[in-house]
């Protein structure tokens, strides 16, 4: 995963040419605090999913639609749907996903 920080420079000055970063481990102490908190959950989720009794991510219809709509759009690609069917779904997920409900994607 990569994160870029973009900001405004006076017109004409370009900032420095970015150099490709060495990837850090998810728990590297140099990772800033907020992503460190996010990253600490992720390997535990990846391992936890395998539990025998666990079958599916149980999402909130009201506020985790960002996840649900994205996964369903992935299915549209995997089903080989034509672009005219994928574009309306992309328009639904190319929005601020926070607090989004599950929406109809048209397929």
């Amino acid at each position: 995963m990569e994160i870029w920080s973009l900001t405004r420079f006076p017109e004409g000055s370009q900032g420095e040419k970015p150099v490709p970063p060495e990837p850090w481990a998810h728990d590297d102490p140099r990772v800033p605090p907020i992503p460190t908190q996010d990253f600490s959950n992720l390997p535990r989720q990846q391992r936890g999913l395998h539990a025998k009794s666990y079958e599916y991510l149980r999402l909130s219809e009201g506020i985790e639609g960002g996840v649900a709509n994205f996964e369903r759009t992935v299915d549209g690609f995997l089903a080989g749907l034509p672009y005219e069917q994928l574009l309306p779904a992309l328009r639904q997920i190319n929005l601020n996903p926070l607090e989004r409900p599950v929406v109809d994607l048209g397929f």
Binding site: T7, P10, P21, V31, Y56, V67, E71
Partner: protein, 315 residues
């Protein structure tokens, strides 16, 4: 009927999402599912290949890799970019690694086949020793890849039949254009190796439901209107806002930029109305104005943030 009650079975995908708010777990570790993503998703989706600051001059190039594909992105004279598959048409060697300039073209390190910056083959050594059918012109050029420039980035798509970039990233593109995305420049760039499926990593950032438990330091009392408006204290509100901005700034190496935090600090003593809703709106409007003024004062291109807020509210 709620959308989550609809069962979908028309999609012939293994481990498909049949009930929209239930995501089968196998999607995050099944090798067959991953292979389907390789074959049917990554092969036909627009991807940010690089920032244009990485290739500032004409003929500067950088290599973008996705799965087993390597693509050369070259800056063009007109400020745009072009992309080429990074495989010599002779024996398949990757013609370049990393980044550099191709003002003198590309030379394959194996047998010295040469290509111009636009991928045209310019030299085949001992060409007379090849049969004619292996030297058809057009078959010898580096294969072009769809490439478009938007928002200060070069984007590629491995599917020649995909719609133009902009159609695939709306309404994000229109929103970010209003922010003058193209005038932003890179300040830093981090890379992390996460031992998880790519979708789990992405989805940790697609909701804010997790904030209360995962990032408790961001839940700061006093930032929202109190139930009883007579208990509202504008000074406490401003302190809470500043504390939040500092925490966001320190927490993500500038998720709120240090410049903006300093500008907000300059408004610490701002007179605010006693009414909480009015006070919060006034604070935000004055802060937006101060940020715009500061940037314009040093010659940065920045939109009027309060106008953007008005546009957002009208949507």
């Amino acid at each position: 009927m709620a959308i989550t009650d609809q069962r979908r079975s028309r999609i012939p995908v293994p481990f498909a999402v049949e009930i929209p708010d239930r995501i089968p777990k196998e999607r995050f570790y099944d090798p067959g599912f991953f292979q389907q993503e390789v074959d049917l998703l990554w092969s036909r989706t627009w991807q940010m290949a690089c920032r244009l600051e990485e290739i500032p001059q004409p003929d500067d190039f950088t290599e973008y890799q996705i799965l087993d594909q390597s693509i050369i992105v070259v800056r063009t004279e007109d400020g745009g970019a072009r992309a080429l598959q990074n495989a010599c048409r002779h024996r398949g060697v990757r013609v370049v690694e990393g980044s550099g300039t191709c003002e003198n073209g590309f030379v394959c390190p194996f047998h010295g086949w040469c290509y111009a910056a636009d991928g045209t083959n310019t030299f085949v050594s001992k060409a007379r020793t090849f049969s004619e059918h292996n030297l058809h012109s057009g078959d010898l050029d580096l294969t072009p890849v769809r490439c478009e420039v938007w928002g200060g980035c070069a984007w590629i798509n491995l599917d020649d039949g995909a719609p133009p970039l902009r159609e695939c990233i709306e309404p994000f593109a229109t929103t970010l254009d209003a922010w003058k995305m193209e005038s932003l420049r890179s300040e830093w760039w981090y890379s992390f190796r996460l031992p998880v499926n790519w979708k789990l990593a992405e989805e940790a950032f697609l909701e804010q439901y997790h904030v209360i438990e995962t990032h408790p330091q961001l839940v700061i009392p006093g930032r929202f209107p109190p139930r009883d408006p007579t208990t509202f204290d504008p000074r406490t509100f401003v302190e809470s806002e500043l504390h939040y901005l500092h925490t966001m700034s320190d927490g993500m190496a500038g998720m709120v930029h240090a410049n903006d935090v300093a500008i907000a600090e300059g408004l610490r003593d701002l007179e605010l109305p006693a009414d909480p809703v009015l006070a919060m709106a006034t604070w935000q409007r004055r802060l937006n104005d101060a940020v715009v003024e500061w940037h314009r004062g040093r010659g940065c291109d920045i939109p009027d943030l309060n106008e953007l807020e008005e546009v957002r509210k009208r949507r």
